[in-house]
Subunit: 323 residues, 2 copies
């Protein structure tokens, strides 16, 4: 991903220059910790590219880019508490390294820092509009997380409901990144609509592809065990699509297998072959390829520019990723 | 408090008209619950009065007033998790009625709703400035909460550090309420400075008075047992002032008593008489009276108006409260 390096470098430089005070340590040390723990910085890079695509220098969108990256890291801290995830990027989660109260509080503080970044927007950018788009996006992320938690205790989740959940939890912030970047680049309403389509489509594509990679990727490259989602009983696009489209006999068998407290590798293989026979694996592939295509088509509405080329490359890279 | 009723009624009406969707329930039901659970709505009332004092109709500050009230309730949800407080205003806390994940998430969502209120500010109000003041205030609240948590595990907290903690945890949002109300009322920089002084002083006065009432109030009226803070070993202005100003013998005795895992009423009486003999009770009284006076003096800089009279009455009411 050579082509994203200049954007990512800008983001890293800004992140390093953030003035986190030393005290109170309970508030700021976890904020520094999660930000230093890396990540691919995809969202802020999208904000910068989007600003460039709309005809302004990407740097103009740096405050918006930082805002989405800080916001993303705030959601990671709180999600890890809610999901009882003990590690992230091979490091202990904030609530494990510190404790739950410190993780709640430092997450809240990171949300504040995220919003404060927008104070640095150039005066000729509509601050109210940018923060409105951002906040609506964050609220959709919260709705998505709520649905995700509710789905865990529900039997009858449909594939459509799943799409609406990831539309909030994953896609809303990616869309907000592109739209906010666009607003920094003086995008008009039509362009904003296209940027929203690109972001939403990319977010949905990425998540469905994640579900698909879980059962199709080379475990060596993927870095996770094959079909980990099935072992964990996670409701994925594949599971929900399979349950909707298989025969009654197949459905009963899948449900029996998935209701096992601990699945053997033989059981997982049987689930996998049922997913395959009822077309769920192909359906997931077609679904995410379709969303990537939708993103590319919406991008065609913009004039040629190196920034547009970079985003096309990024979409292509994501579409063909094996991990 | 007849004089605050018209302001509080405006706030209640706006709160009732907030469009909380029915789903996802995990996100919105706790938000409705905490807001319906009442409270005195002091912060939004202060925002409305402040706007009036600066020469505009209080209604102009309603979005800012709602924002501070929603923000306050967000802090209550998260603080109750952090402080492991099982009830609030005689009702189960959100994380008890639901669970910790729902409480974290619905708190986050309430923070979003709070910031979204500012989208409704009239177009001739500087949205960027109002949200900047608000966010800086919220960050100080986070810093105050962090200090409060750190103080629990520290022996050597000074009375000055305590003031700096409550300056964040309690006073920052009260100051932000008045300053945001002032900005909605087109206040100039000098007026903003006075409003900040009023808010900070009121916040500090209120908290120190709380500490003082804990040991001096009529338990029947106060609704809590006398010297509850001493039983709980809470670091209050009285404790820290006493430890700083007593003799070495008295200090050792206080420390021995407060280090008891469970205090008897005789022990608490002895602590109380030590607080008294080293002047801590009088010092707390003088301190909060002094802060109320500072608030009144700053208020004198404003022209006469019914709104100014109402705020003076409110300060007077708070100063003389017995609960």
């Amino acid at each position: 991903m050579e082509f994203i390096k200049p954007y990512a470098a800008l983001v890293e430089q800004e992140l390093r220059s953030l003035p986190f005070p030393d005290v109170p340590e309970t508030l700021y040390a976890p904020q520094r910790y999660i930000l230093e723990n890396g990540g691919k910085r995809v969202r802020p890079v999208l904000a910068l590219m989007s600003c460039g695509i709309c005809g302004k220098k990407p740097e103009r969108a740096l405050p918006a880019a930082l805002a989405v990256e800080l916001l993303h890291n705030f959601t990671l801290i709180h999600d890890d508490i809610m999901d009882q995830a003990d590690s992230r990027r091979s490091m202990p989660s904030v609530h494990i390294k510190w404790d739950v109260p410190s993780a709640i509080l430092s997450g809240d503080g990171l949300f504040v820092q995220s919003m404060l970044q927008l104070q640095r927007l150039s005066d000729d950018i509509d601050h109210k509009k940018v923060s409105g788009i951002f906040l609506e996006g964050i609220n959709r992320v919260c709705e998505g997380q709520a649905l995700d938690m509710e789905f865990e205790n529900r039997q009858n989740v449909s594939a459509d409901e799943y799409l609406s959940m990831i539309g909030g939890k994953t896609a809303a912030l990616i869309s907000a990144s592109l739209v906010m970047g666009g607003l920094c680049g003086n995008a008009d309403d039509r362009q904003i609509e296209h940027l929203d389509t690109i972001g939403t489509s990319l977010g949905l594509a990425f998540q469905i592809q994640d579900d698909w990679l879980d059962v199709t990727a080379d475990p060596e490259k993927f870095g996770k065990r094959r079909a980990g989602d099935i072992y964990e009983g996670k409701k994925t696009f594949l599971m929900l699509n399979a349950l909707e489209n298989c025969s009654d006999t197949e459905r009963s068998r899948i449900q029996v297998l998935l209701s096992e407290p601990v699945l053997t590798s033989e059981m997982v293989d049987e689930v996998l072959s049922l997913y395959k026979s009822c077309g769920a694996i192909d359906a997931a592939y077609n679904e995410f390829i379709n969303y990537y295509r939708r993103a590319e088509e919406a991008l065609h509405a913009f004039e040629q520019s190196p920034y547009k080329q970079d985003l096309l490359q990024l979409i292509n890279y994501l579409k063909n990723r094996e991990i």
